[in-house]
Amino acid sequence: MLNCFSSRILKMNARNYLMIALFSSIILGVLLCMVLAVTFGAKQLTFHTVWSAIFDYNPTVTQQQIIHELRFPRVIGAAVIGAAFAVSGALMQGITRNPLADAGILGINGGAMLVVALCFAFFPSIPYSLLMVFSFVGALISTLLIFLISSAAPGGLTPIKLTISGAVVAAFLHSLSTGVAIYFNLSQDLAFWYAGGVAGIKWAHLKVLLPIILATIILGIFLGRSVSLLSLGEDTAANLGVKTNRVRLVGIIAAVILAGVSVSAVGSIGFVGLVIPHISRKLVGGNYQLIIPMSALLGAILLILADLGARIVDPPRELAIGIMTALVGVPFFLYIARKVGRGL
């Protein structure tokens, strides 16, 4: 009896150690990617310069200035926003039990984009923090719309219906924002937004973004236990004492905050929230307390690398970061869609 018990503790310990090792190696990976992304770019810098820019900053040296004013905010921004999109996807996949959920595919980004376009049209000199709030409101409205539509169907909120109505609403919102852009002659300003890019992120943005995103991710981790139960099915969760409606509401709002805030900074970047949670689930299992932090870390890595790729493929020009994520995301979506479709 005692023997059996202690062996179980041993097993659990072994699993815990494995997780700790996994997480620390991924955190190391994030740091490594950040250093790489700061070093490489249109202007090649040495590791030494990067090192001294961090620990011995001298504002008179141009190279150190480049690092401090351009590369740091950009790379940190990519990491934070990658994490935000990935966690938003993970929360939505868990709560709606829809393996195809992603803020881009479901049209949540589309709503944010439309409101951003309207802000550009009517209040061109709006401060960034207010733009962020508006972007969140847009994301919230489109989310409500999509959920209402697909839950009105007789079959209920099936993953496939949610995905299809999301995609169509996304296309519609996109064409509306293009309409706004054309009508108010904003095409040039908004083109940058559509393409999605972390190039425009400054320290001033990060000061607002960073606390909000980190706080929401931590909230997501606290929700993790309930979300894992919810992902097993509504009845199971309710029987185990989860307040399903409250968890669902808080979780979706957290996901929408993450997506809306990110869109206000970088435009619509799709597929991060689709791909990353699946990979995290493969790595750490079905527990959302682990999936959410793992998604945040992997999302950070993906977006840093995508941005790095976009910069170094054809310097000094930059590819749109959305293209890089679509390259990874489209085959992945097809693979998942095939798996989901098999259930039909």
């Binding site: 169907a153 079959g155 219906k161 169509v168 054309i182 040039q188 959305g322 869609a337 989901v340």
Partner: protein
């Protein structure tokens, strides 16, 4: 049975005649709209060769080509949607939703990247490029949505279409960001469905496609009837399923991609027009196919007129107006399907 068919024929005939009248009115209305108002009476006079110089210049050199393109594109999109819905046995099928337009956009961007100009006779080749892109997408979608045991799965077709169109849009974005500013703004307007063809040469580029493919599909209506019942029933009725499916799919891709080449990526017409037509005259292809084309024409001409006249001074592309009507309709249909 015979009596029923006769009754259906009569109904289809009456409804189609009514819609021809409506489309004539819509076209006259659209010819009338613009910076320079020309009264319907004067339009008819001008057509009969008795108009003054000013109104005949405005009509023949500026408005006619554009409206002809709008009409042809509306017909093409309406018929193409009807074919696709029959072939896939999926009432939500539409060339835009299935991703054919994203493929056509890819073809167009390739064209713009390598030929740099869209003027004069070279415009005749644009439909070929969009058709190439559309055909490539259709091939990819069919291959990916095909199940070895169950054949083409309707819902998977749409999911695959969404993914493929996201992929092609990314590639198109990649190319379009390399273009200069002027071409870029053309491309971004094109993508949301801006009827850009303004010259007779553009009409000539689109006309043969519609003139050949639309009657061809009408002749094939019996085959379409059989195919929309299912492969087994169709082959039981003596239709060679695979051959006809490929032929008709190619016709649908040709119709929609040629239309899109001149009118921009306009979605939802291929979805809405066949639905309305089916409601009005029933599910026989020989009845609702022409009507579907007519309804497509009416929707597109009206949308273009609205986009041009209400939103002054910067005209809104017709595709946005169509999307504003089409999206709620699609969602309504989606909510109804089990």
């Amino acid at each position: 049975m015979n009596y029923l068919l006769n009754k259906d024929n009569k109904r289809a005939f009456i409804v189609t005649t009514v819609f021809i009248f409506i489309s004539v009115i819509v076209v006259l209305l659209s010819l009338n709209t613009g910076t320079l108002k020309i009264s319907p009476l004067k339009i008819i006079q001008t057509f009969l060769g008795q108009g003054d110089f000013e109104s005949s210049t405005v009509l023949f050199d500026y408005r006619m080509p554009r409206i002809l393109i709008t009409m042809l594109a509306g017909i093409g999109l309406g018929i193409s949607g009807a074919i696709l819905q029959g072939l896939s046995r999926n009432h939500l099928a539409d060339p835009g939703i299935l991703g054919l337009h994203a493929g056509a956009a890819f073809g167009l961007i390739i064209f713009v990247t390598y030929f740099h100009s869209m003027d004069k006779n070279i415009a005749l080749f644009i439909p070929l490029f969009t058709f190439g892109g559309g055909a490539l997408t259709a091939l990819l979608i069919v291959l990916l949505a095909y199940d070895r045991y169950k054949g083409l799965l309707p819902i998977r077709l749409i999911l695959v279409g969404i993914a493929i169109s996201a992929g092609f849009s990314a590639i198109t974005l990649f190319f379009s960001l390399r273009l200069n500013e002027e071409t870029y703004s053309f491309a971004s307007r094109w993508l949301v469905g801006n009827i850009w063809g303004r010259d007779w040469i553009n009409v000539m580029a689109l006309l043969p496609w519609i003139l050949i493919l639309a009657p061809f599909t009408w002749i094939k209506s019996k085959t379409l009837n059989a195919l929309s019942l299912g492969d087994d029933i169709a082959s039981g009725l003596g239709v060679s399923v695979e051959k006809n499916r490929i032929l008709l799919l190619a016709a649908a891709v040709g119709l929609s991609c040629a239309s899109v080449a001149m009118a921009g990526g306009i979605g939802f017409i291929g979805l809405v027009a066949p639905h309305l037509a089916r409601r009005l005259v029933g599910t026989m292809y020989q009845h609702f196919l022409p009507l579907s084309g007519l309804i497509g024409l009416i929707i597109l001409v009206l949308s273009d007129t609205i986009g041009r006249s209400i939103f002054q001074p910067n005209a809104i592309p017709a595709g946005i107006v169509v999307a504003a009507i089409g999206t709620p309709y699609f969602l309504y249909l989606l909510a109804k399907t089990k």
